[in-house]
């Protein structure tokens, strides 16, 4: 499967160049939380409200912060032109839309609940459930934005959502239900996640410090990212999706298995699908949320599979934890790392956790890479690991697990 085109928007800015230049300049997108009326001592990755413009007039039934962020992202990196070209090539009914979100437009529902007193306990009459709170709203928006008529759904498996959609797309294409697919995801700031993660004691009062010995929680952030996946034969400059490993922890709703058993299974499966060995991977973009337990569990899993050799880092010090958009955000950063030949070093991490024996990168390092991996893990023990390749002879295009 070819990653023909991708685009990113997050607190670092709109478009791929904004994210990459911030990583090169080692600039964080995190700032002290002033989101709406949230009263929480933390840092967030927020896209400025002024950039989140109203939706195209014909899509106003889908109006919400989440879809505004989706719209802003779609307008970057010639993504619209690329999709128009894909429609001309395949037809609007042969392009699938498989997107991840964890909270969709729930922020609209939160605001509507404050208006109930004025409406005898009901929600305001202009509140539109299907276009906001319902998870499908995002896929409805992207389908309508391009006039697509192919299969579409949203995957909502918390923080693995927009990585797992790469698996859905590969199966749907292998099954012949579509010829190409738009994948990705969007999550936007809302009070549910800010107060919810705070209630679990998982929110840091500082910009998050992944894999630091003194890490104390996440920085919640918003982001959007989209990619076009096709089955075309790759050229040497094309990025290929070679493996999508998925697994379940079957352990606990909000804590990872301590040895990262499910994470290991996902990484092994991704490597098997790509038909490569752990030592072939040049860089792992870790999930690395900067909570005590997540980094310890993921670190244990990576150490078990890769030892202390393979360079790895979390880029959440730059972007924050973009939750349901973390998968696409970090797969795209891994793709940029491949294209630009640089391993991004972790930001904000000062003292490495001596308990985690992996080759964690603190500085940006030039590197000639062929295979990279991106990890995404979510609540409910939902794990996904994706292997990308560039300039390789490998082409597992059918989504089947390797024998």
């Amino acid at each position: 499967m070819n990653l023909s085109k991708f685009t990113l928007t997050n607190a670092l800015g709109a478009g791929n160049e904004a994210t990459w230049s911030a990583i090169v300049a080692r600039r964080s997108g995190l700032s002290r939380c002033v989101f709406e009326t949230a009263d929480i001592d933390t840092f967030v990755g927020q896209v400025p409200d002024a950039m989140l413009l109203p939706l195209r007039a014909d899509l106003s039934n889908l109006e919400c912060r989440n879809n505004r962020l989706a719209q802003l992202c779609l307008q970057q990196d010639d993504f619209v032109e690329t999709i128009k070209g894909a429609i001309a090539k395949y037809g609007a009914d042969r392009i699938g839309v498989f997107l991840g979100t964890s909270t969709s437009g729930i922020f609209s529902t939160e605001l509507a609940y404050r208006e109930r007193e004025k409406h005898q306990g009901a929600l305001p009459p202009n509140f539109q459930y299907a276009g906001t709170q319902n998870n499908y709203s995002l896929a409805a928006f992207v389908s309508a934005y391009f006039g697509l008529r192919g299969p579409a759904f949203v995957v909502s498996s918390a923080c693995s959502s927009s990585a797992k959609v790469f698996g859905n797309a590969s199966r749907m294409m292998a099954a012949g239900f579509c010829d190409a697919a738009i994948v990705g995801g969007v999550d936007s700031l809302c009070l549910t996640t800010l107060y919810g993660f705070q209630s679990l004691g998982l929110v840091s009062n500082q910009p998050c410090r992944p894999y630091d010995a003194d890490r104390n929680g996440i920085s919640i952030a918003e982001a959007a990212g989209f990619a076009l996946l096709e089955k075309t034969l790759p050229s040497a400059q094309d990025i290929q999706v070679l493996g999508v490993g998925e697994s379940s922890d079957a352990y606990h709703m909000s804590s990872p298995h301590p040895e990262g058993r499910g994470a290991q299974k996902a990484m092994r499966e991704a490597l098997a699908q790509a038909r490569i060995m752990p030592h072939d991977i040049s860089y792992i973009n870790l999930h690395g949320t900067a909570t005590k337990t997540n980094d310890a569990a993921e670190g244990a899993a990576v150490a078990a599979l890769f030892g202390q050799k393979t360079p790895a880092s979390s880029t959440k010090g730059f972007t924050g934890h973009t939750l349901g958009a973390a998968g696409i955000t970090e797969i795209a950063i891994a793709a940029l790392a491949l294209q630009r030949g640089m391993i991004p070093g972790s930001l904000n991490t000062k003292t490495l956790d001596p308990e985690i024996a992996i080759n964690y990168q603190l500085n940006n390092v030039p590197s000639d890479m062929h295979y990279v991996m991106s990890n995404s893990f979510g609540f409910g023990g939902s794990n996904c690991s994706v292997v990308l390749g560039m300039g390789t002879n490998n082409s597992n295009q059918n989504g089947k697990p390797a024998p």
């Binding site: 009263d39 009914d93 964890s102 729930i106 529902t109 939160e110 609940y113 404050r114 306990g121 009901a122 929600l123 459930y129 709170q133 319902n134 998870n135 499908y136 896929a139 389908s143 697509l148 008529r149 192919g150 299969p151 579409a152 759904f153 949203v154 909502s156 498996s157 918390a158 797992k164 698996g167 859905n168 199966r171 749907m172 292998a174 012949g176 239900f177 009070l191 549910t192 107060y195 919810g196 705070q198 209630s199 679990l200 998925e246 379940s248 922890d249 079957a250 352990y251 606990h252 709703m253 058993r261 499910g262 979510g378 609540f379 409910g380 023990g381 939902s382 989504g399 089947k400 697990p401």
Partner: protein, 268 residues
């Protein structure tokens, strides 16, 4: 690979308004029993560890009871299936409680409610209950969530060559959400699908995407037809009716983006 893709339905679980089990649902769908739109109490998932059991929300209990019936009927080792969960709305109760807390001055969100608010909460509890470490996904396609689940589960069964348990469930929202999204009662269906035919197989289903020229299959009973359109998970009723009646027919489901899903059912 050319569409359609063929899967075999090996076992079924059903629970919801007027439905206590697949056996009883099949009798209703054959017209042997009357459909009465009354709610049965949701069974407590005794197979979950006590700490987890206490934390389950209504949608989790709803999903788990149909899933368990399907697995028990199939004699399938519970640790060996892929799972596809799909729901239009997840737990309205949990979302309602969180939004109410956030509208109050204290903004105290319960940690259990927050982790139960994720759309994949039923999948998480299912994993804990079954110790199943295989891939699991959780989908949403608004009113077409059963069609989306069927499409994904079929693709997984055929492409990954694994047994796949499809679990689709929806239940009514509390007020005021019910005022903006009317879902009737509760309904949960679980189908164990396989790409190969076993002696247990009830029918084969060939799955393909059709255009919106074909009209949606309805249920020939006014009360059931009303329920089909009023609960997204109950959009599975025409397929369940075809299986219960051992008929060979094309079931057309409404899908997203103006398309349809065509399920060619052949009884075995």
């Amino acid at each position: 690979m050319k569409t359609p893709l063929r899967v075999y339905v090996e076992s079924i679980g059903v629970f919801g308004t007027g439905f206590e089990s697949w056996t009883q649902a099949a009798a209703i769908l054959r017209g042997e029993q009357l459909f009465a739109a009354t709610d049965f109490p949701l069974p407590s998932p005794e197979w979950l560890p006590p700490a987890e059991r206490r934390r389950t929300s209504d949608i989790i209990r709803l999903a788990l009871c149909a899933g368990r019936e399907a697995l028990t009927a199939a004699n399938q080792a519970i640790t060996e299936t892929y799972t596809v969960f799909s729901s239009s709305g997840g737990s309205g109760e949990v979302i309602h409680q969180i939004c109410e807390s956030l509208a109050a001055p204290e903004r105290e969100v319960s940690p259990t409610r927050f982790h139960n608010s994720v759309h994949n909460a039923p999948a998480g509890y299912w994993g804990i209950a079954t110790r199943n470490e295989w891939p699991s996904t959780s989908l949403c396609a608004h009113d077409a969530s059963f069609a989306a689940g069927m499409l994904e589960a079929t693709a997984q069964a055929v492409i990954c060559a694994q047994p796949v348990l499809l679990l689709v469930h929806d239940l009514r929202y509390p007020e005021p959400l019910n005022g903006v999204r009317a879902v009737m009662g509760l309904f949960s269906v679980a189908l164990l699908l396989r790409s190969t035919k076993t002696s247990e197989a009830k029918c084969s289903v060939e799955v393909s995407i059709a255009t919106n020229e074909s009209s949606e299959t309805v249920v020939h009973n006014a009360a059931l037809e009303n329920f089909r359109t009023a609960n997204p998970a109950a959009r599975s009723l025409p397929l369940l009716a075809a299986i219960a009646n051992r008929s060979n027919e094309s079931v057309i489901l409404e899908n997203v983006n103006g398309s349809r899903l065509k399920l060619d059912v052949h009884s075995l």
